[in-house]
C-alpha cells in the first residue's frame, strides 16, 4: 500500500490530476529517475498484492485460513489485481525499459520454481494450493516479462505472444484454482481435516468432488486437453519467438528449461496431492466416513471444470479473449494478431479432440475385449503379504522426499529422517527467517512506547492538543526556519 501511494505521488508530481488519462499524458514528462522509481514501486506494491517471491509470505497462511470458496476468490481473482495493476502502469507508461522486463522474467522464474518447491513440502491441502498460486503468478509474470522485453527490444510479435500468454494464464488460473479450492473445501467439510496424512481413498467416497479435482489438477499441471496447457504453450511460444530476433533478447530462451522444470515439479506435486488425498485407502476414520456434498456443492465445481475443458479444447476462444488487450499492451494495436498463434490454437483443438476420441475408442475396445472374460477382484499385491493396512501406504512426505532431497536446498526445505519416521519440513526463508524475526523485533521495540499508552482519555486528548500545537507552530514559523 505504502509503495503504491509513493508510486502515485512520484507520478502525479508532473500530472495535473489523478485520472488515468492525465497520468498517461504526463508519462513522457517523467524524469528518468522517477520513471525508474515508478516501475520499481509498481513491482514492489503490486508484487506484494500478487504474491511474488520474496513478497509472497503473507499469501499461503491467509489463503489457507479463509473459508474455501473465499480462498477460491482470493487465489483466483484478488491476487490478479496485482497483475492488473502492473499491466495498467505499463500501459500508462507506454512500455518499460529492458531491465524491468528482465527483472520481471527472472522474478517469475524464481516465484515459479520456489513456489512449487514449497508446495511440494506442504501437508495442509489448502496451504499447498496457496503455494501453487505463488507458482502460477510466477508463470504469469514470465509471460509479462517476455511481453515487456518484446516492447523494449522492438519485437512486437514477441511482445504480443508474451503478454497473451501471461493474460490467458491469469484467466485460466482463476478457473482451475477455483475448482481446486472448491474440491479442497468439500474435502474439509466432509472430513474435518486439511492434513493430507489423515486422508486417502476419497475418490470412492466423493466421486463428484474427485472428478472436479482431477480435472483441475490436470489443468494446473498444464496437460492437454485442458486450458492450463494452452496458456503455458503461449508462454513457451513467447520464449521461443524471442530466440528468432537478434541481440540480447535471444537469451530469454533460457527461460524455457525453467518453465519445463516448473511444469514437471507441478506434476509431481499434484500427483502427490490427488494421489494421497483421493486414492488408496483412508488413513483415518474421518476419511473413511466421508460423503459427497449435495447438488448445490457439485454444480459450481462441474461448471468450472467444463469451462477448463472448453478453453482447452477450443483454445481459439481463450486467445480471442486476450487478443485485443495483449496487442494494446504490446503497443501493436494495428498489427494483426500473429497467425502462428491462431493456427497453433486451431491445431491444439485437433490434438485435444483426437486425444479424447482415441481414448474413448480404446476404452470401448477394452470394454468389448473384457466383456466375456473373467474379471477377478483381489487384494493389492504386497509380495504375497495379505494383511496390508492403510498405514503401510506411501505418505505425502515419503512421496515428496526424493524430489525435496534433490531440489529442497534451493528453497530451504529439509527432509528429516529417523529410523522410524520421515517427514519433510518446510521453512519459508522469507517468512520464517526474515519477516517473523523482523516483526518480533519491531514489536519488542514498540513495547517501549507502552509508557505513553495508559488508557486514560484525557491523556490522549492532551497528545492531540500537543500535536496540533506543534503543527500550528510549524505553519506559523516553519517558513522562516
Amino acid at each position: 500500500m505504502l509503495a503504491l501511494f509513493a508510486l502515485c505521488a512520484t507520478w502525479t508530481v508532473s500530472a495535473p490530476d489523478w485520472s488515468f488519462a492525465s497520468l498517461a499524458a504526463a508519462a513522457p514528462a517523467l524524469s528518468p529517475a522517477s520513471g525508474v522509481a515508478v516501475l520499481a514501486l509498481a513491482l514492489v506494491g503490486f508484487g506484494f498484492k500478487a504474491g511474488l517471491v520474496p513478497l509472497h509470505f503473507w499469501l499461503p497462511p491467509a489463503h489457507a485460513a479463509a473459508p474455501s470458496h473465499v480462498s477460491a476468490l482470493m487465489s483466483g481473482i484478488v491476487i490478479k489485481t496485482g497483475i492488473y495493476g502492473m499491466l495498467r502502469v505499463l500501459l500508462l507508461l507506454g512500455g518499460a525499459p529492458a531491465w524491468w522486463g528482465w527483472l520481471v522474467l527472472s522474478l517469475g522464474v524464481v516465484s515459479g520454481v520456489l513456489g512449487v518447491l514449497w508446495a511440494l513440502a506442504q501437508h495442509d491441502v489448502k496451504r499447498l494450493l496457496a503455494y501453487h498460486s505463488v507458482e502460477n503468478i510466477g508463470i504469469i509474470l514470465m509471460g509479462i516479462g517476455v511481453g515487456a522485453l518484446g516492447v523494449a527490444y522492438h519485437a512486437p510479435v514477441v511482445a504480443v505472444v508474451g503478454f497473451s500468454g501471461g493474460l490467458l494464464h491469469t484467466v485460466n488460473h482463476a478457473l482451475f484454482k477455483s475448482l481446486l479450492f472448491l474440491g479442497a473445501g468439500a474435502v474439509y467439510r466432509a472430513t474435518g481435516t486439511r492434513n493430507m496424512e489423515e486422508l486417502g481413498g476419497l475418490a470412492r467416497r466423493m466421486p463428484w468432488t474427485w472428478l472436479g479435482f482431477v480435472i483441475g489438477a490436470a489443468a494446473i499441471v498444464g496437460l492437454p486437453p485442458l486450458n492450463g496447457f494452452v496458456s503455458e504453450w503461449l508462454v513457451y511460444q513467447g520464449l521461443f519467438t524471442s530466440s528468432r530476433s537478434s541481440g540480447v533478447l535471444r537469451l530469454a530462451l533460457l527461460g524455457v528449461p525453467a518453465l519445463a522444470l516448473i511444469g514437471a515439479l507441478a506434476l509431481a506435486c499434484f500427483a502427490k496431492l490427488a494421489g494421497v488425498v483421493f486414492l488408496g485407502t483412508p488413513r483415518s476414520n474421518a476419511a473413511a466416513g466421508a460423503k459427497d456434498g449435495g447438488v448445490g456443492a457439485r454444480i459450481p465445481a462441474l461448471v468450472v471444470a467444463a469451462a477448463c475443458l472448453l478453453l482447452g479444447v477450443l483454445p481459439v476462444l481463450g486467445i480471442s479473449l486476450v487478443n485485443a488487450a495483449s496487442r494494446e499492451l504490446a503497443g501493436a494495436s494495428r498489427l494483426p494478431f500473429p497467425d502462428s498463434v491462431v493456427a497453433g490454437g486451431r491445431a491444439i483443438s485437433l490434438v485435444a479432440l483426437v486425444t479424447i476420441a482415441l481414448s474413448t475408442l480404446f476404452w470401448l475396445a477394452r470394454r468389448a475385449l473384457l466383456a466375456r472374460r473373467l474379471t477377478r477382484h483381489e487384494e493389492t499385491w504386497a509380495c504375497g503379504y495379505d494383511a496390508a493396512t492403510s498405514r503401510m501406504q506411501y505418505t505425502a512426505s515419503s512421496f515428496a522426499a526424493p524430489l525435496l532431497g534433490i531440489f529442497g536446498g534451493l528453497g530451504g526445505v529439509r527432509v528429516e529422517r529417523t529410523t522410524t519416521s520421515l517427514r519433510t519440513r518446510s521453512v519459508d526463508p522469507v517468512l520464517d527467517t526474515v519477516a517473523l524475526p523482523l516483526w518480533s523485533r519491531l514489536r519488542h521495540s514498540a513495547l517501549r512506547l507502552r509508557a505513553i499508552q495508559q488508557g486514560r482519555l484525557h491523556f490522549y486528548l492532551l497528545y492531540v492538543m500537543a500535536a496540533l500545537l506543534v503543527l500550528l507552530g510549524y505553519l506559523a514559523f516553519g517558513s522562516r526556519l
Binding site: 481413498g201 475418490a203 470412492r204 499441471v221 498444464g222 496437460l223 496447457f229 503455458e232 504453450w233 513457451y236 511460444q237 521461443f240 530466440s243 528468432r244 530462451l253 524455457v256 528449461p257 525453467a258 519445463a260 522444470l261 514437471a264 506434476l267 509431481a268 500427483a271 490427488a274 494421489g275 486414492l279 488408496g280 485407502t281 502462428s340 493456427a343 491445431a347 491444439i348 490434438v351 483426437v354 486425444t355 482415441l358 481414448s359 480404446f362 476404452w363 473384457l370 472374460r373 474379471t375 477377478r376 477382484h377 483381489e378 487384494e379 493389492t380 499385491w381 504386497a382 509380495c383 496390508a388 503401510m392 501406504q393 506411501y394 515419503s398 526424493p402 524430489l403 534433490i406 531440489f407
Partner: protein, 305 residues
Amino acid sequence: MIWPTRWSALALFLLLAPTIPGVANRTKAILTGRRGAPVWQLYADLWKLVRRGVVYSTTTTDVFRVAPVAILAATIVAAVLLPLDGQTSILHFSGDAVAFASLLALGRFALVLAALDTGSSFEGMGASREVAFASLVEPGLFVSLAALGVVAHDFSLSTMLGENDARAATAAVMPSLVMVAISLFALTLAECSRVPVDDPATHLELTMVHEVIVLDHSGPDLAAILYASALKLGLFAVIILNLLIPGGGPRGVAGLALLPGSFLVLGLAIGIVESVTARLRMSKVPLYIAGSSALALFGLILVLR
C-alpha cells in the same frame, strides 16, 4: 502424394516399435553370452496379454482402468506430431514440441495416479521415483528441443527434424547437434526406464522404478502400457536419428526405410549400454541426468551465440 507416405510411416511406426526392446534385449543377450529371447518377444507377450482376463485390486477405482487407455492414446497422438517419414508430420504447428512433451507428461500423470490408486507402498515408492526423475529429465528435454528450434528457426518438430532449408546448411552447428543427440540418448535411457537409471530386468520390488508402477496391472491393461512404453522408445529413436540428418531424410520409400533403421540403432545402443554398464545408485541418478542436460545446454549456448 505426401499424405500416403506420412500415414504409412505412422502405420509402420505403430507396427515396428515393439522391436526396439526386442533388439535391445537380444543385443544384451548376445554380448553377455546368452541365447536370449527372440527379437519379436514383445509381440508374443502383447498377444498373450490381450487374450487374457484381468485381476483388479479391490482398492482401485476407475482411475486404474482409465489410465492405460489414456497413456496409449496420448503416446499415439505424440507420434502424430513427429515427422516419422523424415519430411513432415501429419499434424504440425509452431510450438508443437510443447504439445509433444505435454502429451508424454499426460501419460506419466495417468500412470502415476493409477499407481497411487492401488494404495500399495511399493507402487507409491515407484511413483515417487518416477516423478522425481521425470522432473529432472523435463528441463533437459526442453533444452534439447530449444537448441533444435534455434537451428531450424522454428519450433515445430517437423522443421526441427524434417525437411527444412534452414537445417540444410548445418555443417557449422553439427558439433552442437551431436551434443544434443548424445544428451537426448542419455535422457531417453532415463525417460524410458532403462539402465543406468532403471533396470527392466530387475525382479525385486524395492529396486524397481517403472516396473513397480505397473505391478498390479494385468491383461489388456498391461498390454496397453507395455505397448505405449515401446512406442515411447520409438519416438525418441526418431528424434535422435533425424536430428543428425541435415535438411531432412530421403523422400519416399527410402525415407520409410529410415524408420526401422532408427529403431535398430537405438535398440543396439541400449543393448550395448546395458551390457557394459551397471545400474547407478539411486542417489547418483540426479547427477547423471543433470550431466546429460548440461551437455544439451552447452549445445544450446553454442547455437545461440
